[in-house]
């Protein structure tokens, strides 16, 4: 994290570790507020992120001009926060239900079954299992090496990824999206939470294979 910030010309002015899980973040938010950082990065997930963002909002961090950025925020977290609290939050997502007709159609089916819109984790799991099953179908075998070779050869094309590639280091490279949580006034329907600010090409999001630290085999 620090490495990336510094490589892009930023400066890390401070960091604090919190216990896991934690329900009270006011202490850490106050430390972050006093640090004078422009952006407060939250390298946590789930309930901890939600509590941290709630506290940041309450202590006037966002109102005073500091921005919060979640490194791992899901759509369901935004739902639990409410737009009033979460507005302006920057997040990177691998999937958003309202991207195009294909994602909308698939997500609607998911919604009818579960009563919630899917996050990138759910869409990604569906996509990867389907890709695996398609490789089995194509090769007519369930031998690991045969199926794996086929999975790497076939591009992933579904509602989750377009021309996604399963690389030899095990990463599935696909486009990611930088999103910002909408203001309540610009949200027109239920689960209408995100504005896609920018599409991050897969190569940029996952880094080139030559820099990968994962074993290639």
């Amino acid at each position: 994290m620090s490495k990336v910030v510094e490589a892009e010309g930023g400066k890390v002015v401070g960091a604090a570790k919190h216990p896991f899980p934690a329900s009270d973040f006011s202490s850490f938010i106050l430390q972050a507020q006093a640090s004078g950082a422009k952006i407060i990065g939250l390298a946590n997930a789930g309930g901890d992120t939600i509590n941290a963002i709630k506290a940041a909002n309450e202590f006037g961090v966002v109102a005073a001009g500091q921005k919060t950025a979640g490194l791992l925020v899901f759509l369901t977290d935004v739902h639990a926060l409410g737009l009033e609290t979460a507005k302006g939050l920057q997040m990177t997502v691998s999937f958003y239900w309202d991207l195009n007709d294909e994602t909308r159609a698939w997500s609607q089916k998911y919604y009818e079954l579960t009563g919630k819109m899917p996050t990138g984790v759910q869409a990604g799991t569906y996509s990867s299992v389907r890709h695996y099953l398609k490789a089995i179908e194509a090769t007519g075998s369930d031998d690991t090496d045969t199926v794996l070779a086929k999975m790497r050869e076939m591009p992933v094309n579904d509602m989750f990824a377009h021309n996604g590639v399963l690389r030899s280091d095990g990463r599935m490279v696909h486009d990611m999206y930088l999103a910002e949580v909408k203001d309540p006034s610009s949200s027109s329907k239920p689960w209408d939470y995100l504005n896609i600010v920018r599409t991050i090409p897969g190569e940029e999001a996952f880094g080139p294979l030559s820099e990968s630290a994962c074993p290639t085999k």
């Binding site: 216990p19 329900s23 009270d24 202490s27 106050l30 507020q33 709630k54 006037g60 899901f74």
Partner: protein, 299 residues
């Protein structure tokens, strides 16, 4: 100049001390309920965290479906959850009177799992949104920190409840019965006091206190089904340190543990979730009955 106190700007340190009191206030209200219940029922109420969670969800529900709003919920949510607690006591806990502590622990812990599991099924584990009432949004800049109105209100409300409970126990007739019950239930019964009713009400009151803390927490923390399970162990430690069943012990320990934990968060954040248990271990070694000097008669 106080510009750099122990390597931390005073802004951070004063702010942290104030936060400590706010967190301590939560611990105080929660451990107060736990202490009341232990005092009279001799049960370590491990369902306390789940009941605290019910208080927060009742607040959300009352606001969303009945339009009662935060201020109404402050009164009605504890009553609703308190009545639920009374049902639990009448239907289940009553049957454990006189048996080993372990059974009470197992039953209440099991109840907590069932209640939390039901809410995960109903609302998902991410929880539901809730924000502070309009009157308490925003805050005041104290110079050394920005104090949200709502956090200030939490301290005031908690102190009112703690003082009220102390008054109830120390200055009223029913309080005298309750204290006598903590000492010796059978003797109290011999004097013609309706002890079963008294224990039911005490449990209901303890549960209502947990729900009250839940209402206070709803705008601050994530209202999710497992919000109480993070807190219950800490609160349990607070009650042990304060002397099981001691009212004042619970309140004072609650506040002071808030301070100790808060300061640890500044100087050694990694240890902040452990520090209360270290204190508990030390207290148990030095004074197995807790800090309170009076040793409770074991039943």
């Amino acid at each position: 100049m106080l510009t750099d106190l122990l390597g931390f700007p005073p802004q951070v340190l004063f702010g942290q001390l104030l936060l400590c009191l706010i967190n301590g206030a939560f611990y105080a209200v929660l451990s107060l309920g736990l202490a009341v219940i232990f005092g009279l029922l001799n049960i370590v109420n491990f369902a306390h965290g789940a009941l605290y969670m019910l208080g927060a969800f009742a607040t959300v529900g009352l606001t969303k479906w009945l339009g009662i709003g935060y201020w109404g919920a402050l009164i009605f949510a504890p009553i609703i959850v308190g009545v639920f607690g009374i049902l639990l006591e009448r239907l289940l806990l009553r049957r454990l009177a006189g048996v080993d502590h372990l059974y009470g622990l197992l039953l209440t812990f099991g109840l907590a799992l069932v209640i939390e599991g039901t809410f995960v099924k109903l609302f998902g584990s991410s929880g539901v949104p809730y924000s502070a009432p309009k009157e308490l949004i925003g805050g005041v800049n104290l110079g050394f920190m920005f104090l949200p109105w709502y956090r200030g209100w939490v301290v005031v409300a908690s102190l009112i409840v703690c003082i009220g409970t102390w008054f109830l126990f120390e200055k009223t007739k029913i309080g005298a019965y309750l204290r006598a019950g903590t000492e010796n239930l059978r003797l109290l019964q011999a004097f013609g006091v309706n002890v079963p009713l008294l224990t039911t009400l005490a449990y209901g009151y303890g549960v209502a206190l947990a729900a009250f803390a839940g209402v206070l927490a709803a705008p601050i923390t994530q209202v999710n089904p497992l919000m109480g399970s993070n807190l219950i162990i800490v609160v349990f430690a607070v009650v042990v340190i304060g002397g099981m069943g001691s009212i004042m012990g619970a309140v004072i320990t609650g506040l002071s543990m808030g301070v100790i934990e808060g300061l640890t968060k500044v100087f050694w954040p990694e240890a902040s979730s452990t520090v209360i248990f270290v204190v508990m271990a030390i207290v148990l070694v030095l004074r197995p009955a807790g800090c309170e000097l009076t040793v409770k008669c074991s039943s």
